[in-house]
C-alpha cells in the first residue's frame, strides 16, 4: 500500500470543513480573559513586601481552574500556559495531552490526530481549532495541520479545551469540541526571552523574543523561532525519514487607544521543510513508484482586532484576518488564501439577561497542483461562508439557576443553510456544587475533498494483462454530517484546594461519511487504459457515542498540585443496510475505551521544581495498537530570577511505542521514540 510520509495532506477524502469561528473572548462558555503574570515574586507570604512593592506585582487569575470554569455549562478545561512550560512540552499538539478527555495521537514526526469523544482520524478531525480567534482548521481535508501551529509555548497564555459540540458559539465543525489557543498580551511578555535546548527527538525548539513599549499605551513583542524534530521509526526499526525543521517569526502589538478601546495587531510567518519518502500508485509495473523528495509548508497570517467597551452597553469586538498557506510535496500541492471578518456584541447584562450576538463572513480560495495520485476537480475553488449567532444567558434566583439559549445560522457554498441550536441549563446547589446539562446540534460541513477529490490509491495487474486501479472519489451530493449531543455535568468544589469535574455525554450522529464501492469502469486517460475500481464518498452511516470524563485537582500544599483524570468512551456505528462500506465502521476502534492521567507539579526549596505526568491510553482495536503508558518528567532550577535550566524527558518508560493504528491511506503508523532533553530559558 501507499505509504505517505508526513503531513496528513496526502490524505484523501477529507472530512469536515470548519466554518465560522468567533473571536476568543466571545463565548459565554469560555472563560473571561485571564490575566497571567509575567512577574514572578517570591514566596507564598508577601507580607514582608512594602505597600509600593505589593502595588507592583502583577496578578494571575484565580479563574483558571476555579470560578469561571465552575460557572460554565459545558465540559471545559483550561490548560494554563505555565503548566505547559512546567511539563517540558515544546509544541501545541503535545500540550493538549494535559487536558482530560483529549486523545492526542502522534502519527509521525509532523502529524497528529487530536480529538475528544471519538472519531480520531488524521483526515477527519472534528475539533474546531482557533489561535487568537483565527481558525486553523483546513477546509481542504477537514482537519488541522498541527505541524505548522507551532507558536513559542512561552507566549501561550492558556488553551481552552471544550469537549462536546460548541457550534452555536464557535461555528461549524465544532462537532466534538473546540480548542481555543490564546496567546499572552504583549504587555505580559515584556523584555527579552531566549530559550535554547536539545533533545534526542525534539532536537530544537529555540525562541528569541523581545517585548517593548510604544509610549505609555502600546506594547509589542517580536519573536523568531527555530524548530527541529528528529524522525520517528517504523515498527520494523527502520527510520521513517519524516524529520523536519521549521523557522518561524511573528509579532504582536496591543494598544490602549483610550480607556474604552483596545487595538491588537498580530501576525506570523513560517516555513517548514523536510524529506518526503514513500511510494505512490502507478499504472505500469511495478504499479508503485517510490519517491524520495522534499516537502515544504509555508504560511503567513495577520490578525487585527478592535475591542470597544462601553459602560452600560457592553462590549463590541471587530476582528479581521488574512491567512495564506501553501504546502508542496511529491503527491500534490496546495495554496490557500482566507479572509475573515467577524463582529460581535456582548450586551451589558439587563434584567438577568446577558446577550451576545455576532455576524461573520469568510472567503477562502485555493489552487491545487494536482498529481496523479491526488487530484481535485475543479483545481481552483472559491467559497463563501456567512454566519450569524446569538446567545442569551438568562440568570434566575440570583444567578443560582441559568438558562442559556443559543443558535448559529450559517450559509456555506456546499450545503446552503445550516442551523445549529444549543440549549444549556446550570444550577448551583449550595455553595460548592454545580450541575449542568446541555442539548446541542452541530454539523461537520463538507470539506473540499468530500466533493471534488480523487485519490488513486493503488494499482495492480488484472487478468489478461489489464490494469486495475482502486480510486476514491468525492461526491457532490455529500451532505453535512451532524450530531445531536446530550450532556450532563457535575462539579464539586468544596475548597479552593480541591475540585472535581464530571461530564457525561450521549451523542447521536447522522449522515456519517462512508466510502461506497461502485461499479468498475474502463478509463483510457491517462494511458495505459485501465479498469477503475471506484469507491465514492456517501453519507450512509449513523452512530452513537457515549462516555464520561472525570477530572480532579488537588492542591496538597501551596507547593504541590495534583491533577488526575479518567475518560471512558464507547462508540457504536451503524451503517445503513444499503451501505457496502465495510471499513468505515473501523472508526469504532480508533479511540481507546479507557484513558487516564495523573500529573504532579511540585515546587521545591531553592527554586527547584519537579513535574511528572503519567498518561495511560487504552488499546486501539483498529490496528491492534496495544495500550501504553507514558511518563513525562521535568526538573527545573531557577538559578536566579530570569534564568532557568531544566532537564527532562517524554515517553520515559519505553524506548518507543506506537500511538496510531495507521490506515489504508497512511500505511503503517510510525512509532514515537523516547525524548530526553535539556533546556535553558533566559528572561532579560
Amino acid at each position: 500500500m501507499t505509504r505517505r510520509s508526513k503531513p496528513p495532506l496526502g490524505g484523501l477524502i477529507p472530512f469536515f470543513l470548519m466554518f465560522c469561528h468567533l473571536p476568543a473572548a466571545a463565548a459565554g462558555i469560555a472563560t473571561d480573559p485571564v490575566e497571567v503574570s509575567s512577574a514572578r515574586a517570591e514566596a507564598g507570604d508577601l507580607t514582608s513586601l512594602s505597600l509600593e512593592d505589593l502595588m507592583n506585582i502583577e496578578v494571575t487569575s484565580t479563574a483558571k481552574k476555579g470560578q469561571k470554569v465552575a460557572d460554565a455549562a459545558a465540559a471545559i478545561y483550561v490548560i494554563p500556559g505555565d503548566e505547559i512550560l512546567r511539563s517540558g512540552i515544546t509544541s501545541i499538539p503535545e500540550a493538549l495531552r494535559l487536558a482530560p478527555g483529549i486523545q492526542v495521537t502522534r502519527v509521525g514526526a509532523a502529524s497528529w490526530a487530536i480529538t475528544s469523544r471519538g472519531f480520531n482520524s488524521l483526515f477527519a478531525q472534528w475539533m474546531l481549532v482557533l489561535i487568537d480567534g483565527r481558525t486553523v482548521y483546513s477546509p481542504l481535508f477537514a482537519g488541522v495541520y498541527w505541524d505548522v501551529q507551532d507558536l513559542p509555548v512561552e507566549d501561550i497564555e492558556r488553551i481552552e479545551v471544550i469537549r462536546g459540540p460548541g457550534a452555536a458559539l464557535w461555528g461549524a465543525n465544532a462537532v466534538n469540541g473546540v480548542i481555543n489557543i490564546i496567546t499572552r498580551k504583549a504587555k505580559d511578555t515584556q523584555g527579552g526571552l531566549l530559550t535554547a535546548g536539545y533533545g534526542t527527538e525534539e532536537r530544537a525548539a529555540d525562541t528569541l523574543q523581545y517585548g517593548g513599549a510604544f509610549g505609555a499605551r502600546g506594547h509589542y513583542r517580536v519573536y523568531g523561532r527555530y524548530i527541529r524534530h528528529d524522525s520517528t521509526v517504523e515498527p520494523s526499526g527502520v527510520d521513517s525519514r519524516d524529520e523536519w525543521d521549521g523557522r518561524r517569526a511573528g509579532f504582536r502589538a496591543d494598544w490602549d487607544l483610550s480607556a474604552r478601546d483596545a487595538l491588537t495587531l498580530m501576525g506570523d510567518t513560517y516555513g517548514n521543510h523536510g524529506p518526503s519518502v514513500g511510494s505512490s500508485a502507478s499504472l505500469t509495473p511495478p504499479y508503485s513508484t517510490p519517491f524520495d523528495s522534499q516537502q515544504a509548508s509555508t504560511g503567513t497570517d495577520v490578525v487585527a482586532r478592535w475591542e470597544h467597551r462601553h459602560p452600560g452597553e457592553g462590549r463590541t469586538d471587530l476582528q479581521i484576518y488574512h491567512d495564506r498557506t501553501s504546502r508542496t510535496g511529491p503527491i500534490f500541492d496546495q495554496d490557500r488564501a482566507t479572509s475573515d471578518l467577524d463582529f460581535q456584541h456582548q450586551m451589558a447584562a439587563r434584567g438577568g439577561h446577558e446577550v451576545i450576538w455576532g455576524v461573520g463572513y469568510r472567503i477562502t480560495s485555493d489552487e491545487i497542483g494536482n498529481g496523479f495520485e491526488i487530484s481535485f476537480m475543479p483545481d481552483s475553488r472559491r467559497d463563501n461562508l456567512f454566519s450569524a449567532f446569538a446567545q442569551d444567558d438568562i440568570s434566575m434566583a440570583e444567578g443560582r439557576f441559568r438558562l442559556i439559549l443559543g443558535a448559529r445560522l450559517e450559509h456555506n457554498d456546499y450545503t446552503g443553510f445550516e442551523l445549529q441550536p444549543d440549549l444549556r441549563v446550570l444550577r448551583k446547589v449550595g455553595e460548592h456544587q454545580t450541575v449542568w446539562g446541555a442539548v446541542s446540534r452541530a454539523v461537520r460541513s463538507p470539506a473540499r475533498a468530500d466533493f471534488g477529490a480523487r485519490d488513486n490509491l493503488a494499482a495492480f495487474p488484472g487478468p489478461g494483462g489489464s490494469t486495475f486501479l482502486v480510486s476514491f472519489f468525492g461526491n457532490d451530493l455529500f451532505v453535512s454530517e451532524d450530531v445531536l449531543a446530550y450532556q450532563a455535568g457535575y462539579r464539586f468544589h468544596p475548597a479552593d484546594t480541591f475540585h472535581v469535574d464530571l461530564a457525561t455525554f450521549y451523542s447521536q450522529y447522522r449522515n456519517l461519511r462512508t466510502i461506497e464501492p461502485g461499479v468498475p469502469f474502463l478509463e483510457t486517460d491517462p494511458s495505459p487504459p485501465h479498469v477503475v475500481i471506484p469507491a465514492t464518498v456517501a453519507n450512509n452511516m449513523d452512530g452513537v457515542a457515549y462516555g464520561a470524563e472525570v477530572a480532579a485537582n488537588l492542591r496538597v500544599s501551596p507547593q504541590w498540585d495534583l491533577d488526575c483524570s479518567y475518560t471512558y468512551f464507547g462508540l457504536d456505528l451503524d451503517p445503513d443496510s444499503s451501505s457496502l462500506d465495510t471499513t468505515s465502521i473501523d472508526l469504532e476502534g480508533d479511540s481507546p475505551r479507557h484513558q487516564a492521567q495523573i500529573r504532579s507539579e511540585l515546587s521545591l526549596p531553592k527554586r527547584f521544581s519537579v513535574d511528572n505526568a503519567l498518561y495511560f491510553v487504552g488499546r486501539l482495536e483498529n490496528g491492534g495498537v496495544p495500550s501504553h503508558l507514558r511518563l513525562d518528567s521535568q526538573v527545573a532550577w531557577m538559578i536566579r530570577q530570569g534564568l532557568e535550566v531544566s532537564v527532562g524527558g517524554q515517553n520515559l518508560l519505553e524506548s518507543r511505542h506506537q500511538e496510531s493504528g495507521g490506515s489504508i491511506f497512511l500505511g503503517t503508523a510510525a512509532e514515537i521514540e523516547r525524548n530526553v532533553y535539556g533546556k535553558i530559558t533566559w528572561r532579560f
Binding site: 508577601l46 505597600l51 479552593d496 484546594t497 501551596p558 475505551r593 526549596p605
Partner: protein, 198 residues
C-alpha cells in the same frame, strides 16, 4: 480493558515515581517561586498581604477591642484565599497584638471583627452586611464594583493587571477608623458623595 500486564507494572512504576518524588520532596518550609497555581493565586496572596497591612496602618478607637486580644480578621462568604491569608497572618504581631482569623459562611453568622473581608460570593448581600456592621468600628474590605459606593471602607480592584484599592473616607470616618497617610498615599480615594448617589 487492561489486558497487558506490562502496563500494570508500568503503572505501578509510574505512580511510584510520582509519589516518590512527591513524598521525598515533602512540603518544603522554604518558599518556592510563586506559581500561578490553581486554587490560590498571586492575586489573593497580594490581597492577603494587603489585609495584613491594613491591620498595620489603620487605627481603631481604643474601646472597641480588648488591648491584649488579637486583632481579628473576618472572612465572609466563599474563601478565595486558598490558605494565603492564614499564611500571611500566622505568627504576626501588629502594634503589639496578634492576628486571628474567623470565617463566616453566611451573613447571619457574623460576629464583630476589626476587619471584615467580604468575598465576591457575598457581594449581593452588602446592604444587610452594612446594616450589621454599622457603628461597630469594622473596617469592611470588599472586591466588587460599587462596594465603596455602597458604604464599604476599602475596595480592591484590578488595574493594569495589578491589585489596587480605593478608600471611602466617609465610610472610614463613620466607622471611627483612622487611616494612616501611608495607606492613603497608595490608595485611590473613592469619589466623595458616592454614597449619597445611591
Amino acid at each position: 480493558m487492561l489486558k497487558a500486564p506490562p502496563s500494570c507494572r508500568l503503572l505501578a512504576a509510574g505512580i511510584a515515581v510520582i509519589l516518590g518524588v512527591g513524598l521525598s520532596g515533602g512540603v518544603p518550609a522554604a518558599p518556592a517561586r510563586i506559581e500561578p497555581a490553581p486554587g490560590t493565586s498571586v492575586e489573593y496572596q497580594i490581597k492577603a498581604a494587603f489585609l495584613y497591612n491594613f491591620a498595620k496602618f489603620v487605627e481603631w478607637p481604643p474601646p472597641a477591642f480588648d488591648d491584649d486580644a488579637p486583632l481579628t480578621i473576618g472572612l465572609l462568604g466563599e474563601d478565595p484565599f486558598g490558605g494565603a491569608i492564614d499564611q500571611a497572618i500566622e505568627g504576626k504581631v501588629v502594634n503589639g497584638r496578634g492576628l486571628a482569623l474567623k470565617r463566616f459562611a453566611k451573613v447571619k453568622d457574623l460576629q464583630p471583627t476589626a476587619i471584615l473581608f467580604i468575598s465576591r460570593s457575598s457581594s449581593r448581600d452588602l446592604d444587610e452586611i452594612f446594616e450589621r456592621t454599622r457603628g461597630a468600628h469594622v473596617l469592611t474590605v470588599g472586591e466588587s464594583d460599587g462596594f465603596a459606593g455602597k458604604g464599604g471602607v476599602i475596595n480592591f480592584f484590578t488595574d493594569e493587571n495589578k491589585v489596587r484599592f480605593e478608600i471611602n473616607l466617609e465610610a472610614a470616618r463613620a466607622a471611627g477608623l483612622q487611616i494612616s497617610s501611608k495607606l492613603l498615599g497608595v490608595a485611590r480615594i473613592a469619589p466623595a458623595g458616592a454614597e449619597r448617589e445611591r
